[in-house]
Every structure is written in structure tokens, then in C-alpha cells.
């Protein structure tokens, strides 16, 4: 796969860089990495990071340092649908362990694993700021909250049926 932003993505990069004063384009690194992850298969390969470095005129190591620091960047390929289940205190109080166990029961994947068909990856994460709507998980751009076994069933079915994850509010 050759890594190259589409024209539209490139415009977005320009818009992002334009939000900072002259010479402070490094500030765009984190948003541009988000964009790159979205554009290039849901994860950041070395090739992708090197490309981002070129686009923003940074040293590759500056990109690696940042990409490995933040937990939202996937440095390995992930399934098409990434279930990020919160397991911190308040979610634990409301049964997040059961949700993780149920996903294993249903899809046969433990945290960090991907289903054989490459469709689902399960990841346990720390507090996502939805403590009052626990248990919950992040799927794509959105949160799925007040999870129950039935809701997990519904989310899985939705992913299997509709190709792209729901992106509207």
C-alpha cells in the first residue's frame, strides 16, 4: 500500500496546520495522526508515520515518540470494528467485567485479540469519561453506553449487517 493522503485529506491537513501561528505546525501532529489512522486502515504503520513526518516536515522519531505515547493510536492492525470497553472503577462497579466476559463468550476474543474474520478487536481501556452511563465502550467515533448483554448482541449484529460503523450522533 502506498501511503498518500487523498486531496480531501490533504486539504484537511492544511486546515489543521492553519490553526497555529507561523512555524508552529508541529502542533498539528496529533490531529494529523488521527486523520492518518482513519485514512490508512485504522492503524499507524511505520510507513504511515514516516509519511506524516514528511507531510509536517518533522523528524520521523518525533512522530514515533508521539504516536507511541497516546493510547488511541493503534500501532498494530486491528479488526474492522474495535470494541474498547472501559474497565476503570465506576464502570467496574456497574459490571464492566461481565461485558468483557460476555464478548469473549460471544466472539471468542479476549482483550487484545481479533476475531479470525478480522471483523472485531476487543481492547480494554481506562476511563473514557462516561462513568454515569456505565458500563460502556467506544466504537469508532461514538460511545455505546449502559451496556447489557442484549445491547452487545445488538451492536455485534449492527456491525455485521451494516458495513461502516454508525458515525452520526
Amino acid at each position: 500500500m502506498s501511503v498518500q493522503f487523498s486531496e480531501k485529506a490533504m486539504q484537511e491537513v492544511q486546515r489543521l496546520v492553519g490553526r497555529y501561528p507561523e512555524g508552529k505546525h508541529k502542533s498539528a501532529l496529533i490531529p494529523v495522526l488521527h486523520l492518518a489512522q482513519q485514512e490508512f486502515g485504522g492503524w499507524l504503520s511505520t510507513e504511515t508515520m514516516d509519511y506524516v513526518a514528511t507531510v509536517l516536515n518533522l523528524k520521523p522519531i518525533e512522530v514515533y515518540e508521539v504516536a507511541t505515547f497516546y493510547s488511541m493510536y493503534n500501532l498494530k492492525p486491528v479488526g474492522k470494528y474495535l470494541f474498547e470497553v472501559c474497565q476503570t472503577g465506576p464502570c467496574m462497579l456497574n459490571g464492566s467485567d461481565d461485558i468483557v466476559a460476555y464478548i469473549y463468550e460471544k466472539l471468542g476474543i479476549k482483550p487484545g485479540e481479533t476475531t479470525a474474520d478480522g471483523l472485531f478487536t476487543l481492547k480494554t481501556v481506562e476511563c473514557l469519561g462516561a462513568c454515569g452511563y456505565a458500563p460502556m465502550m467506544q466504537l469508532g467515533k461514538n460511545y455505546r453506553e449502559h451496556l447489557t448483554k442484549e445491547k452487545v448482541d445488538a451492536v455485534v449484529a449492527e456491525c455485521r449487517n451494516t458495513a461502516p460503523p454508525k458515525t452520526d450522533q
Binding site: 511505520t46 520521523p60 507511541t68 505515547f69
Partner: protein, 374 residues
């Protein structure tokens, strides 16, 4: 605010550290003021390096208590402060070894630093000149309270000159500052975060730059060691000699670590604080040509033995002022010589092998004498 005060302040600030008062220039840090006093009142520092801008503040071994902020505002500071990054104020009173709080916190920091350290000193080239060893010796406890598996990392090859042992790293960041401030193309950095943060190039890239070898000199532990010296000798068996040569890249002033006439290793010269020595205010960093590729004694003008602090284990190899003990065997044996059961020279070539010339680490095979080789 600090700048405003500076303008009105006297030329020098008086600061009292462990009851010793000294005058220092405004802008001096507590640590550097303590270094001017010297001796026990100097807090240990594992990450601060005066020649590297932005270093310090991270390891927390140099924490001190500020019992009075200044004459103008004599209130004590509530928390212990990192002496390497806190500037003195006029009339400041600092407690280091006289503060139980500091000693307690420092013992904690040393324990934290050693928690995941492999303690592989017996096979570590840094042993004998390792700041963590010194720190552990002075402030550490004999046992550990840590009952879990120590952290490990995947091994990474960072090129022909520098050996990276990530398990020994204490994340002082000094090597990244060297790469940023001495070279124009940093290829390694701190990756990941928290207890999995590591020094890496991410892509196993060779660190190749004229001044990259200085990363070895600034590394306080055995995380970055000289591959051309690897396993060749223990530093305390070597003989450090000050030497120089004309170099078009660097100052050319070095310490040669010799064994016999062999040059086993070349480093920059170090000052009393263990940092690279400055000449006319400029740090004497050396280039990789001097360090790695100039290992014939004839390449160098030898100035004389390097002064080594007598507390250092390296000084035990210095035969200065040595008095040879009287031979007593012949005396007690009534004039007869002892009968040797074995002549070491017949079974080992240890004194005839030129260790520096070996392509790789020295192994027992290298010491089989010619007479025994097939």
C-alpha cells in the same frame, strides 16, 4: 517575577546548605551551589547534566528541603524540591543531609530506581563507573521489597558503536538531549509511556552520527555502552591516561583506558561531578573518530595518568605511591624457592593477547596459549 527580583538583587546571593553558607551568582541552582561547596552536602543527581540544556528534574534523587525560601520571604517550601531545577534566592536555607525528610524520600527514590533494574553488574560494562551503583551503595538498602518479575524489553540493535541495554535504563533522557543538542538528526527517542517507556529508534535504525558516542559518556548507567569495548575488560583493571590529538571535528582531549600498551577504550575526560570536562567554558565532547577509531597508542600524545577520585573502584588499579611488599617466601623457606605446581604461562596466554585488537568480545578461547593451539 524571578526576573524582576534579579534586577534589584545584590551581585551575589547568600545561600545556606546544611548549615554551610556560600555566595553564588543569581540564577545558580541549589544543586550547583551545593557542588561549589562540595562533599557530602552535594545531592546526587542521576538525570541532571549541566552541559545539556533542559536536563534534570526527572529522577528525583536530588530532592532537598527548602527550610526558608529567601530573606524577603522566609517561608519554607511545602514540598521537597528538585535542587537541579530550583534556583537559589538570597537568604535561602536548604537542608539536604540534615533533613530526615530528604533522606527518607531519597531512599524511596533509590528503591524505585532499582525496582526494575536487573542488577546485572557482574556482566555490565558500566560496573565500577556506574552512578546507579554509587547511589545504591550510598543510599540503597541491601534487600528488595519487590517480589515481582522485573521488567524486560525487546532487544534492539542501534548500530555498530553503541550497545543498548534497555533493562538498565533509568530514563534520564540525557541521551536524547545529546542527540538533539550535539547532532542535527536525532533518530532515537523515548517511546511508549509510563513503566513501559523506553529509549528506542522504533525501527531498529543505526544511530550514526559523528557525535553520537557522547551518549555513552552521559549515560549514568549501563544502558548505553561502547560496543568496541564490550566485555573486553573491567574498568578497574584498566589504566586511565589523559591524552590528546589534533582533531578537526572535536577538541581531541580524551581519556585513554589502557591495559598494558593497548588502548581498550577512549572516552571524553570527566570532571569531579562525573560530567564531561569543559575547556574555556565549552564542554569537551569528543567525536566518534577519536572515540571508536583511534585506538593505537601512537595516535595519541599521552599527558599522564588521569586523576581518579580515591573513592572510586577504578583508583584501585592506580599504582601511585605503591610500596612493594617484602618477599617473604624465600625467608620462611630457609632460602629455598617454592616449587611451582603449574606455570600459568604454559596454560594461558592472558598476558600476551592484545585484547583491543580482538574483533569481538574476549572469550576463554582467546587466551589459549599458542603452544596449546591446534
Amino acid at each position: 517575577m524571578a526576573e524582576e527580583i534579579k534586577k534589584e538583587a545584590p551581585a551575589n546571593f547568600k545561600v545556606t546548605i546544611d548549615n554551610i553558607t556560600i555566595e553564588v551568582a543569581p540564577g545558580t541552582t541549589i544543586l550547583n551551589a551545593a557542588r561549589q561547596i562540595g562533599g557530602d552536602v552535594t545531592p546526587p543527581a542521576m538525570c541532571y547534566y549541566s552541559k545539556l540544556q533542559g536536563s534534570g528534574g526527572k529522577c528525583r534523587t536530588c530532592l532537598v528541603e527548602v527550610a526558608a525560601g529567601s530573606t524577603a520571604d522566609p517561608r519554607p517550601m511545602p514540598k521537597l524540591v528538585a535542587s537541579c531545577r530550583t534556583n537559589v534566592m538570597d537568604g535561602m536555607i536548604v537542608k539536604n543531609i540534615t533533613s530526615d525528610r530528604v533522606q527518607d524520600a531519597r531512599a524511596g527514590v533509590v528503591e524505585f530506581l532499582l525496582l526494575n533494574h536487573p542488577l546485572d553488574c557482574p556482566i555490565c560494562d558500566q560496573a565500577g563507573e556506574c552512578h546507579l551503583q554509587d547511589l545504591g551503595y550510598e543510599h540503597g538498602k541491601e534487600g528488595t521489597r519487590y517480589e515481582f518479575k522485573r521488567r524486560t524489553f525487546e532487544k534492539e540493535d542501534i548500530g555498530p558503536y553503541i550497545q543498548l541495554h534497555m533493562t538498565r535504563c533509568i530514563l534520564c533522557y540525557r541521551c536524547t538531549y545529546v542527540a538533539d543538542q550535539l547532532t542535527n538528526n536525532r533518530v532515537h527517542g523515548i517511546l511508549d509511556r509510563g513503566d513501559h517507556a523506553e529509549i528506542s529508534t522504533y525501527i531498529s535504525k543505526a544511530i550514526d552520527n559523528d557525535f553520537s558516542g557522547n551518549m555513552i559518556d552521559v549515560c549514568p548507567v549501563g544502558a548505553l555502552t561502547d560496543k568496541t569495548f564490550r566485555f573486553k575488560n573491567r574498568v578497574w583493571f584498566t589504566k586511565p591516561m589523559d591524552a590528546h590529538r589534533d582533531c578537526d571535528k572535536c577538541c581531541g582531549k580524551v581519556t585513554l583506558w589502557q591495559r598494558g600498551d593497548d588502548v581498550l577504550r577512549v572516552t571524553a575526560r570527566k570532571d569531579e561531578g562525573g560530567e564531561v570536562q569543559s575547556y574555556e567554558g565549552k564542554p569537551g565532547w569528543i567525536c566518534n573518530t577519536c572515540r571508536f577509531d583511534t585506538k593505537n597508542t601512537s595516535d595519541w600524545v599521552i599527558e599522564g595518568p588521569t586523576k581518579i577520585n580515591r573513592h572510586s573502584v577504578i583508583s584501585q588499579g592506580h599504582y601511585v605511591g605503591l610500596v612493594k611488599p617484602k618477599e617473604t617466601i624465600a625467608e620462611v623457606m630457609g632460602g629455598r624457592d617454592p616449587k611451582l605446581l603449574m606455570d600459568i604461562h604454559s596454560v594461558s596466554g592472558v598476558n600476551s593477547v592484545e585484547i583491543a585488537a580482538l574483533p569481538g568480545p574476549a572469550t576463554s578461547k582467546n587466551f589459549i596459549p599458542e603452544s596449546k593451539q591446534e
